[in-house]
Symmetry: C2
Subunit: 198 residues, 2 copies
């Protein structure tokens, strides 16, 4: 403990450093801002932390975070399309595009030999069950376009195709609003291969 600051302030700074990419400087900034917040705001902040941790768990169907048994999306949407993503925050990202009205399936990871993660360590079995039991027509693989994401997508496609379901992959190509000259070679090659008629 630094003797120039009191224990409760040091504890708060330590707590903030538990957040991703928050170092001491940022944690200090956050901590000092908390002292200047109203008492109600701080109480709301603390309550939100406890409540989120207490109530949130995986949706029984899709694996997204929810505070009910079944998440809002699984409970209200009737769709024959499942979008498969790596993490709950990917659901958030796709929902924000507002152009997908189907269901989701969160894998909570990808196949990664480097991290010693095999197919049985992520929620593939649950996906196969969903496809086998329901009348799903299409599964969109929306894992990240990196090595692990590609491997996982290919692996899952191989398992699902025999079940008679269409398996697709998110389009890969140059980013909207980007500059062609800065696109990397792999992306450009992919964009050329997958070119479409206008």
């Amino acid at each position: 403990m630094n003797n120039d600051i009191s224990e409760s302030l040091q504890n708060l700074i330590n707590a903030f450093t538990c957040l991703p990419s928050v170092g001491t400087k940022t944690a200090e900034r956050y901590a000092y801002s908390v002292i200047n917040m109203s008492e109600d705001t701080v109480k709301f902040f603390a309550d939100s932390l406890i409540k989120a941790k207490e109530t949130l768990h995986y949706c029984k169907i899709c694996g997204n975070f929810t505070d009910k048994d079944i998440c809002n999306i699984c409970a209200t949407r009737h769709s024959k399309v499942i979008c498969v993503v790596k993490e709950p925050k990917d659901v958030r990202a796709i929902e924000k595009s507002k152009h997908f009205q189907g269901l989701y399936h969160v894998l909570h990871g990808t196949i990664s030999p480097l991290e010693n993660k095999g197919p049985e360590d992520i929620r593939i079995k649950e996906l196969v069950d969903r496809v086998s039991n329901g009348d799903i027509e299409e599964v969109i693989m929306a894992t990240n376009p990196d090595v692990e994401g590609e491997v996982t997508a290919t692996y899952i496609a191989k398992i699902l195709k025999p079940l008679g379901v269409k398996v697709t992959r998110l389009a890969q190509g140059i980013q909207m609003g980007s500059d062609l000259q800065y696109a990397d070679e792999v992306t450009l090659t992919k964009a050329l291969q997958d070119r479409r008629e206008l």
Copy 2:
């Protein structure tokens, strides 16, 4: 409320956006990381927030944050030098340099006509009282080297000098480890004016 995420998660995201320079994206990242923390960590986090807000207040002498009547520095250090800063986090910054063993005085702001802040809105009176009553030999003005900081330093110096105390200002010049070609003109001028013999 977005219907794709549950209320408790949305509340947590909202809470994080109360922190300085935290937008929705960062708040989401923080919120998801909280769900993956252990229950103990989350409890510690929430407790730290509440406790810091509850227990921290201004030190009766220097104005820094403390959970006692008088802060650790005022209680333990015997010095005839006071370093005057704008905010509590400035105390932290100077303490980290480990080259100052004196006392502090936190103004909690600077004179700023733009923000309608006059000398009576910051803790100048308390500083004058300290200098008048104690046997202080030197007051170091460590307000920021911007317009408000300079004005405040000059104003305070004018009041304190008649009390027979030495008033100094932190040295201004080119930053250690920086590159001369990128130094701005005002800084270079200051560095030339205040050059010292080797």
